[in-house]
Amino acid sequence: MIRTFGIILTLIGVAFLFFSLFLEYETPLELSGSASYYAASTAEDTGSANLVSAIVVTYRGLDTLGEVTILFLTSSIMSYMLKTKKARNQRTFRESSELLRTASALLVPFIILLGVFIFVHGHLSPGGGFQGGAVLASALVLLLVADPLYTVQSRILSVIESSSGFLYVLLGLSGLLFGAGFLDSRVLPTGRVGELFSAGLIPLIYILIGLKVGTELSNLLSVFHSVQGQDLMEDEGGAR
């Protein structure tokens, strides 16, 4: 009780601290420094309709490469740590109901299509590689939930992951060779703003990031799921 009271008191104190900040806040009427540059000249620089993805992929492209590297490191460390050598911990599953299996069989193609749509249209609409990759990974989660004994082809996943990462760095190097610098997107023509084939390298890079993030997250989740010596408990009443 005292602990709860203390937490609530602390929260009220923090609220007071931020309330003074809130009172003194004035909405800035015009954009400052780099923000005004981005808002004014992104469209003509890169040909991307979505300002955020232009910033993420070109102006701050190196940071995105770093994020992808961090995600790759996390995924590989997790799969190294969680791999069980001995077939010791036997688990019993209750078989999923028929409704869930049918729904997953119907939904998985649509989910993969939605993920691909999100990262292909990254330069036109909100979303991009990371969000599309998360959606792709969720398709695999749905498969695993519907059928716990589903075997994931982790070999193919890791091949896709490493080759897309390699191609990402290669595209950045091509910017160094033909454009203005590492990860410069103007190697390809920028095209008209708002069309699918525009914005130079941004769609290609987003497709690669989406594939890489999707396969990494799928690998991570399938490692969490996989336990050797699985056993399927028969479902009551679902067999009919």
Partner: protein, 132 residues
């Protein structure tokens, strides 16, 4: 223009009323299974009407809204089904007024006999409830 706005607004308003009814059902119903019923069926219809109202008022959004409605029709019943099944398997107690439990019965019978006699049982339970 104005007439489509008003028509869409009326449809959206009815959808939001269904959403409110579903939320009230989630709060007021006596046990978990009734809450799942109220929370899923009413809110699915409510969301569909809500999005349909927006589609009437803004015809250029129809493809995406249709996709969203389709998605909700597919996913919402499945999630509530999985929830109800999980609740049944973990042994959540039903309300005292519940009269028939098909899943427990099939678990007992293991699918050997058909489910005849349900109607008589329901009728008997109804008459018993009437006497009460």
């Amino acid at each position: 223009m104005e007439i489509t706005m008003i028509a869409g607004g009326v449809v959206s308003l009815s959808g939001s009323l269904f959403l409110l009814l579903g939320a009230l059902g989630v709060v007021r119903m006596p046990d978990l299974f009734n809450r799942i019923q109220a929370g899923t069926k009413a809110t699915t219809l409510g969301t569909m009407l809500f999005l349909a109202g927006i589609a009437i008022a803004e015809p250029s959004w129809i493809p995406k809204l249709l996709l969203l409605i389709l998605f909700i029709i597919f996913t919402n019943p499945v999630s509530s089904h999985v929830l109800a099944r999980s609740a049944h398997h973990t042994g959540i107690r039903m309300s005292d007024k519940t009269v028939v439990d098909h899943l427990a019965k099939t678990t007992e019978q293991r699918g050997s006999e058909s489910l005849q006699g349900d109607e008589q049982e329901i009728a008997a339970a109804k008459s018993k409830g009437g006497e009460r």
